[in-house]
Symmetry: C2
Subunit: 228 residues, 2 copies
């Protein structure tokens, strides 16, 4: 098992059979000790965070498996805090796909002239480039095609898949009276046919969730959701 990459919230190992092992860490992104799913730096470390994120991720990836939604997921080992996944290639150096149900965060920072904080958005999807140095810039379908990151057809597929996956997560959360405001997904190309698949994780660290109008921290969210 070979360490391939040290990430902000996960380390990645290559297994002998060619698959990958993700080791979930207790670090979360944020600034000055305050959690922010959109931030690019590790802001704080919370004990049990990695395992908690893995539990939620596993719950959803198992669900997507049943529903035949393509992901990189193979299996998880909650005790060890690891998830075994298929190898995936990124779009360019990686893109993030955001689905928004309420106008908060970077949406308001960009479009605050036209939208009010907390305003309803109808599963609004946008794509940003993973680029810490340039603050994860927004990019259009034309831009992605021109820079040879993905075709317009792939963009459409990605948007549809994002709406479908986010809709399932939103519905599952709502069963526990949790409201999804926005979520950030990652996709890659997986398998011999390089089909588009959901990769990375689905945890509290990727989404903003509220309960009765009050923001729920990732760890708390996972506890409520998993009845722990």
């Amino acid at each position: 098992m070979k360490l391939k990459y040290i990430g902000k919230t996960k380390d990645v190992y290559e297994l002998e059979d060619g698959n990958y092992l993700l080791k979930f860490k207790d670090d979360v992104t944020g600034e000055d000790g305050v959690f922010d799913p959109g931030a690019n730096a590790v802001g704080l470390s919370i004990e049990g965070m990695g395992q908690s994120g893995l539990k939620l991720t596993t719950f959803f990836f198992e669900r997507f498996k049943e529903m035949k939604i393509p992901t990189h997921y193979i299996k998880s080992n909650i005790k060890e805090g690891t998830m075994t996944v298929l190898p995936a290639t990124f779009f360019g150096n990686g893109v993030e796909v955001i689905c928004r149900y309420k106008a908060v965060g970077s949406f308001i920072r960009r479009y605050g002239m036209y939208a009010e904080e907390g305003q309803e958005l109808d599963a609004y999807v946008e794509v940003t480039l993973k680029d810490d140095d340039r603050n994860d810039p927004l990019i259009t379908d034309e831009g992605l095609e021109m820079l040879k990151i993905m075709t317009k057809e792939e963009y459409k597929l990605l948007v549809d898949l994002t709406r479908k996956i986010s809709g399932i997560i939103k519905e599952e959360l709502s069963k526990k009276d949790l409201e999804l405001y926005d979520i950030k997904l990652e996709f890659g190309r997986v398998g011999k046919d390089s089909h588009i698949a959901l990769i990375d994780e689905i945890s509290g660290g990727n989404m903003r969730v509220y309960k009765s109008g009050k923001y729920i921290e990732p760890l708390q969210l996972e506890k409520i959701f998993l009845n722990e």
Copy 2:
């Protein structure tokens, strides 16, 4: 004649017949005394700048008139530094449409991970919101439609018109061995049928132009172009 608006590089007056008069000023956008067409503040004032910009604008608007490309232009008075135009309504509080032939400026600031400074771009078009406080954020066709700024059909029309207009300007400049790197256009809705028309100005202040690989300042550009 009533002063309606004091702009960064132009003042706008309402005429008695309902048309508008644009008074070109000697101020140009930039930072710390250095011209930057993408900047939001007035960086410096250059004598003769307003009249020079008006001359170039008039040249192109007359050309577009011949070619039946819709603009808000009626006539100019070079000596007075004024242009009479049809009233226009903005898309939202105003959008800017950028057409890029070379990767420079904000394009590189955003997509520098995937593009090299000066790399060729095939008339790449992007739309930003006029919003100084939020640094003129980029927006997608989906975003424009969702925020009720324009429909996707209007977006397509705008992109096509931008490519056509920018292509004409690029060609005219090339006749004087001037190379257009990028240009920023403004559009509005004009007339009883609210058709999309080019508004504002076409001057050195809206574009980046090079000659033999050397950047040409707006005033210099206008002198070369108009053989003065």
